[in-house]
């Protein structure tokens, strides 16, 4: 039986569908995979990519931290922020990163610095996932030829 995957954010549902394997980025252990029949799990997610494999197809999604729950072959991701890799606007993400960098340098309160630092890491992660997607689709087109 395949996995059922739901990715939710406060702004709505980002992904819903089935998968044979899901790879996510955990906060302490890095990348980990989930196959059908996985034990019930609640995990903290770090900023990073989430791969959803279904037969030969693979969806790549950027997740900006959040929670992942596995129960009875259903994976629910509650993301602080999430976006399909193909939809990421790299220029906009780069812009956001630069702006947060400047804000961070001007910030005086610890809490503000922490917020801008998180923003920098989120934007950087977004750009990384977009690059990952670009590299992958280029490889695919060159292997098709």
């Amino acid at each position: 039986m395949p996995l059922t995957v739901n990715i939710l954010t406060m702004a709505g549902q980002i992904f819903t569908g089935t998968a044979d394997e899901v790879t996510a980025t955990a906060q302490e252990d890095g990348q980990f995979g989930i196959l059908p029949g996985h034990a019930p799990l609640i995990s903290l997610l770090d900023i990073g990519p989430l791969h959803i494999k279904r037969q030969s197809h693979e969806d790549l999604i950027f997740v900006g931290g959040g929670f992942l729950e596995v129960l009875n072959d259903t994976i629910t991701v509650l993301a602080d922020d999430a976006e399909h890799a193909e939809n990421i606007d790299e220029a906009k993400a780069e812009d956001a990163r630069r702006r947060a960098q400047i804000d961070k340098e001007n910030a005086t309160e610890d809490i503000d610095i922490a917020i801008f630092q998180a923003e920098i890491e989120r934007s950087a992660g977004r750009i990384r996932v977009a690059e990952m997607y670009r590299v992958r689709s280029r490889r695919r087109t060159s292997s098709d030829e």
């Binding site: 302490e28 609640i42 903290l44 129960l71 509650l78």
Partner: protein, 301 residues
Amino acid sequence: MATAREIKRRIRSVRNVSQITRALQMVASTKMRRAQERVQQSRPYADELRVLLARLAKVSAEADDPRDDEPDADKRLLQARPVKHVGIALVTPDRGLSGSLTPNTIRYTLGLMNDLQKEYGIAREDFRFIAVGKRGRDFVLRTHLQLLAEFTSLGDVPSSGDIRGIARAVSDAFIDQSVDEWVLVYPKYINPAIQRPSHLKLLPVTAPEGVADEKQTDYFYEPSPAAIFSALLPRYLETLILQPALETVASFYSAQYVAMKNATDNAKDLIDTLTLTYNKARQAAITNQILEVVAGSGDNE
């Protein structure tokens, strides 16, 4: 009787007003639909988060070490204590032209304050307010209640940064004990015709009901229940604030739509009545003129 020209001027001014109210009505109807969508889109996330929190609250309550006499900040958000000061986060629209939406919300707040005063035996001075939206802030200032903080001009889509700021102000006041219980008052969105002022409890966090009696599943926790719990709590508080904030936007545009539709309809009725009066006045003037002409021609014979 007013002259035909005066009536004509009034008709023109009423027509101008009705054009404005009709434009506002159409804008409100589009924005209402979009706000409604946003409320619905954020619901699955909020519901799932609630379920997750309830499960974790149970686990972390069991894992609670009674010898731990220096509880960390997250644990403190869960602890109920005798209530001496009540905080009210009052969520209202920034703007008016929305019929009785704001007055109803404020009347509801006053009623709630009365109930809480009786329940906890506290006075009017023991309330602390955080105003989200200008209308509520104006009310708090006008009635000389204590305002801790105000968050205005959040726009139609409150940003996560704004919401985080409100959540921080709320939990800070709870942790430094200046407020012992937080409630949030907002105009709940039922449907385009009905908005009902309601309140919900923000702090101390109480595990949502409904999950309590479900069969316990043995989860693996990565890295640990405590770490997940302390990441989850602020998110939970933020959704408790975001959801009402989104509903307030939807309520505002629905109320504005209805108010503007009524105003447009009234203007149309008024124009009809005035047109009738105008025609009568015109007819009377013509009749008068004819009479004068007839009378004048009679003299010449």
